[in-house]
């Protein structure tokens, strides 16, 4: 005990622990760590846990990142190449140096994990047999995820090799065959059996398959070309875009196509035009609306333009001009754009008296595809699609649908996501659980129980802690040299480039242990978990001031009200 002033130190200082004072009783709000969805994952049709795989990559753990991405998505190397990457459209990096090149990262991780050691181990056999009809992206994803859950999966497909449209419709310069083959090999390595050249109705009745299997997934895609519905369409020299593309991609080089007019503005039109260019032809594209309304992936249109393919916009065919049994031109009419139609795009309207002939020696129709359900029971058909409900189930017990044929998702990525979702529903059916009211959203597959309203958008980030950094350039073969072959146009990231790009990710909505909360807590009420990820909040001492939430750069915390 101090008795004199001289004995008293000048500074008041206490070495007593203050933890006896339960300042936590003062609060009416308290912070909570909440893994929210980054905009990228929120928008990923395939259900990739994007910020997590980027985060692992940034830490240099490429193997874990690749395993994570392959934990439900069997085709990352493929999707990284062909996906139009909606994830990047709302990446919070857009305002600060450009979106993360997520598709390049998916591609990189996919390419890094093409060996058999990356095949996940399936669950113990559940003794159930599933037939997947269609070996396209939806069927492959469904088969992969069902096999993972311990089911015996047999995939049937009417082509010579599995892959569906990935093989027959996407040219090598976008997706090298070797990449597709190796990803399918990994699915095979998981125990999925493939039967090619097998067509339902020709090689077995649908009813037989239903007897042989406990469940069936119909993933038959869109392979039937839509008709132009103009005179002359059935003449030689007028080609079905889907079939022509399939022929070219399997090595065929159709004769007599020197100056083709490709009709349409979607991916098939772009793929057909660019593939024909690579066979030595001089294609032109005829599209009834403008560049802005084209449904094709914008990057593909850019590449076609870069390769010098001319576009005739606001031009619709009215007749194929035939002379001496040969195509000599496409008679067209000029269009103008009116009010928006049901697709939200402005409706093209013909301009009277504007008919003219576009000279060509062949016509390729690529105005869209639809489902071929001729060999399936009537009750499975509903217009262009498989008749199914929100659970992706049909009216026939044990028969489910996936991919374009049921949801018209329109991209490989949506098909993969749908395949993952249907696998969850089919598994519930097979193990005797009640079917869910609807198929899970893709992000539900890896973030169960998350409040789906929480997406961490840019204005929720604390940009005081985030620096602008430029998106790297993505290297392409120069247009002049690439059109002579089907060599891949877009070049892969090197490992250092991929690591640097992963480090640009803000990891929106998820704690990455930046420790800001820990540093800023004025009550020392935030404690690092020992030996595991994350922090604990000492509720006895947290006063609910909210500084941690405010200073969290990445919106990984929220304040919630507590009872007083």
């Amino acid at each position: 005990m101090v008795r004199t002033l001289a004995e008293l130190q000048p500074v008041s200082l206490s070495t007593q622990s203050i933890t006896a004072i339960r300042t936590g009783t003062w609060k009416y709000v308290e912070p909570l760590y909440l893994d929210k969805l980054p905009p990228c994952s929120h928008l990923c049709p395939a259900g990739n846990d994007i910020s997590k795989f980027l985060s692992l990559t940034a830490q240099g753990d490429i193997e874990s990142a690749a395993r994570l991405i392959r934990s439900g998505n069997p085709l990352p190397a493929t999707l990284g190449r062909v996906c139009p990457h909606p994830c990047e459209s709302q990446c919070n990096r857009v305002q600060m140096g450009g979106a993360i090149a997520i598709h390049m990262m998916e591609r990189f991780l996919g390419d890094e994990s093409l060996g058999e050691k990356f095949v996940p181990s399936p669950a113990a056999s559940a003794g159930k047999r599933v037939a997947v009809i269609g070996a396209g992206p939806a069927g492959l994803a469904a088969a992969y995820n069902l096999a993972l859950q311990g089911h015996a999966v047999q995939v049937f497909d009417d082509k010579a090799a599995p892959g569906g449209y990935l093989r027959t419709g996407i040219p090598d310069y976008r997706l090298p065959r070797e990449v597709l083959d190796r990803e399918i090999d990994l699915i095979r390595a998981m125990g999925v059996a493939f039967k090619s050249n097998f067509r339902v109705g020709r090689d077995a009745a649908f009813a037989e398959l239903r007897q042989q299997f406990d469940a069936i997934v119909l993933a038959i895609g869109f392979h039937r070309n839509r008709a132009l519905d103009v005179p002359g369409e059935n003449n030689p020299g007028v080609y079905n875009g889907v079939q022509l593309l399939e022929r070219i991609l399997s090595g065929g080089r159709p004769d007599g196509i020197r100056r083709p007019a490709i009709v349409g503005g979607g991916n098939t039109a772009m793929d057909a035009a660019r593939s024909l260019l690579r066979t030595g032809a001089t294609p032109i594209v005829v599209y009834r609306r403008t560049r802005a309304e084209m449904p094709a992936i914008p990057a593909e249109v850019d590449e076609a333009v870069a390769e010098g393919i001319p576009f005739h916009f606001l031009t619709a065919p009215v007749r194929v001009v035939i002379e001496d049994g040969r195509v000599t031109g496409l008679s067209c009419i000029r269009m103008t754009l009116g009010d928006p139609d049901s697709s939200g795009r402005r409706r093209p309207l013909p301009v009277a008296g504007s008919e003219h002939v576009v000279p060509c020696d062949s016509v390729v129709t690529a105005i869209g595809e639809t489902t071929d359900l001729d060999d399936f029971p009537e009750e499975l058909r509903e217009g262009w699609r498989i008749a199914g409900d929100e659970r992706l189930a049909t009216s026939l017990p044990g028969v489910f649908g996936a991919g374009d044929a049921i949801d018209g998702g329109g991209t490989v990525t949506a098909a993969v996501g749908c395949g993952r979702r249907v696998a969850d529903v089919v598994n519930a059916f097979l193990v005797g659980h009640d079917l869910p009211v609807r198929a899970p959203r893709v992000t539900d597959l890896w973030r169960r129980g998350l409040d789906r309203d929480h997406v961490s958008y840019f204005d929720q980030l604390n940009t005081a802690y985030l620096r602008p950094e430029l998106r790297p350039e993505i290297v392409e073969l120069p247009p002049a040299g690439r059109t002579g072959s089907f060599a891949e146009v877009v070049q892969s990231f090197t490992s250092p480039a991929a690591l640097a790009e992963a480090r640009r990710c803000f990891v929106c909505g998820t704690c990455n242990e930046c420790h800001n909360c820990y540093y800023f807590c004025p009550d020392v009420a935030i404690h690092k978990r020992r030996g595991e990820l994350g922090f604990d909040i000492d509720s006895d001492h947290c006063k609910g001031c909210g500084v941690c939430v405010e200073e969290c750069p990445r919106d990984a915390m929220v304040l919630v009200e507590v009872g007083r």
């Binding site: 101090v2 002033l5 008293l8 130190q9 000048p10 500074v11 008041s12 200082l13 206490s14 070495t15 007593q16 203050i18």
Partner: protein
């Protein structure tokens, strides 16, 4: 080395020579060029310190307090509204016994908006426990900054080194910038005994019950009492190294002076000329310039002014409702003198808001006082309006 420096640059040079480790400041006219100079020194490596940019003066002082609590040598600078905004933490720095050094460029408080000099900003901080040194020249500024670190760190009391806006802050003079080697010999590395140390966890500034609060405050007051001697000791040591000596007060032609003119800061330079001119006319006047205002050198001033006939205090400040502040303080200190030794003390308030105080103004003040025309209250020297008569003349 002799250099031509303005007052603000002299502050920065002093801080550099004192090897401040953490500078935490927010810009405000007319102080800004101090921290601009320091920022350049820090970024160029001339001063190996951490320069912390903040969003307000309150945070600037909080930054200094935090840094000083870990044992760092700290500096900040401000003026006027900025100092007022710091006020809460000004108390804290003193109560926590942290030897923070603050340069304040005296600037009038708004409204009306003003960037020019008067002393109400620093005098509003009179009772916070900080020491205050009012400087008269750029040379005194650089020397006082260096001395302040030594005095403050010995006593664990913070110091404000104060200079007039523009008259000193932005006026260039020849300054002898001491060699680093001399300053290093004078000022050892900082060593604060009570500081935050993760190895010895402790709460600083903890809850104090009524049985102890007063004791800590008495310790602070005792430190101020010690400070009077420490400033003189440190001043002598500095004089030994540099030949330049500053006491708690400076006197000019006081030996035989029957009347003493009392003021602080740059007005004293002007007053010196007025003293010379009145001496030529036979008025026995001298000058006392107050340098260290806190602690207040009451005993020294009693000795110095005992037996004089008149003292006239020039205040560039006002405690509204009761006199200029130096006037109050001096009058109160002299009351302890025996009645026959107690001079008549009158006061003049002048130069607020940066208005010039000329030699003629001061001569007028001195003449009015000598002729018995100034009363005991402070007279507002309102020129050129000039309507207000000295109270004694009415």
């Amino acid at each position: 080395m002799k250099r031509v420096l303005k007052g603000n640059s002299a502050v920065a040079e002093g801080v550099r020579l004192a090897r401040a480790q953490v500078i935490c400041a927010y810009p405000i006219t007319p102080q800004t060029s101090i921290i601009e100079d320091l920022a350049v020194m820090v970024s160029s490596g001339a001063l190996p310190a951490k320069f912390i940019k903040v969003e307000s003066e309150h945070s600037a002082m909080a930054g200094c307090i935090s840094a000083a609590s870990t044992g760092a040598r700290t500096f900040t600078a401000t003026s006027s509204q900025g100092l007022a905004l710091m006020h809460e933490l000004i108390h804290w720095a003193a109560g926590a016994r942290l030897p923070v050094i603050l340069a304040n460029v005296n600037r009038s408080l708004a409204p009306g908006w003003s960037i020019w000099t008067d002393q109400n900003d620093t005098l509003s901080q009179r009772d916070t426990g900080w020491m205050q040194v009012y400087c008269q020249s750029s040379q005194e500024v650089i020397d006082s900054v260096i001395q302040a670190y030594k005095v403050s760190e010995r006593l664990l009391l913070p110091t404000m080194v104060i200079l007039d806006a523009f008259f000193l802050s932005h006026t260039h003079e020849i300054v002898d910038v001491p060699d680093q080697e001399i300053v290093d010999r004078f000022l050892p590395p900082i060593n604060i005994p009570f500081r935050l140390d993760p190895a010895k966890p402790a709460a600083l500034g903890n809850l104090l019950y009524p049985d102890l609060y007063m004791e800590f405050r008495r310790k602070m007051d005792l430190a101020h009492e010690d400070a009077l001697n420490v400033w003189e000791d440190v001043g002598r040591e500095w004089a030994g190294l540099t030949g330049r000596s500053y006491g708690l007060v400076e006197t000019y032609r006081c030996d035989d002076a029957e009347m003493v003119f009392f003021t602080a800061a740059t007005a004293a330079s002007t007053a010196r000329v007025a003293v010379d001119e009145l001496r030529e006319r036979g008025v026995p006047v001298g000058l006392v310039r107050l340098r260290v205002f806190r602690p207040f050198p009451a005993a020294l001033l009693q000795n110095l002014l005992s037996g004089r006939r008149k003292v006239v205090v020039l205040d560039r400040n006002c405690s509204y409702g009761h006199h200029g502040i130096f006037h109050q303080e001096l009058k109160s200190a002299l009351y302890d003198l025996p009645q026959d030794k107690r001079p008549h003390v009158s006061g003049v308030i002048a130069g607020l808001g940066g208005r010039d105080i000329t030699v003629d103004d001061i001569k007028e003040m001195m003449t009015l006082a000598w002729d018995g025309k100034l009363g005991a209250s402070s007279w507002w020297h309102v020129l050129p309006v000039g309507e207000e008569e000295p109270a004694a003349a009415k």
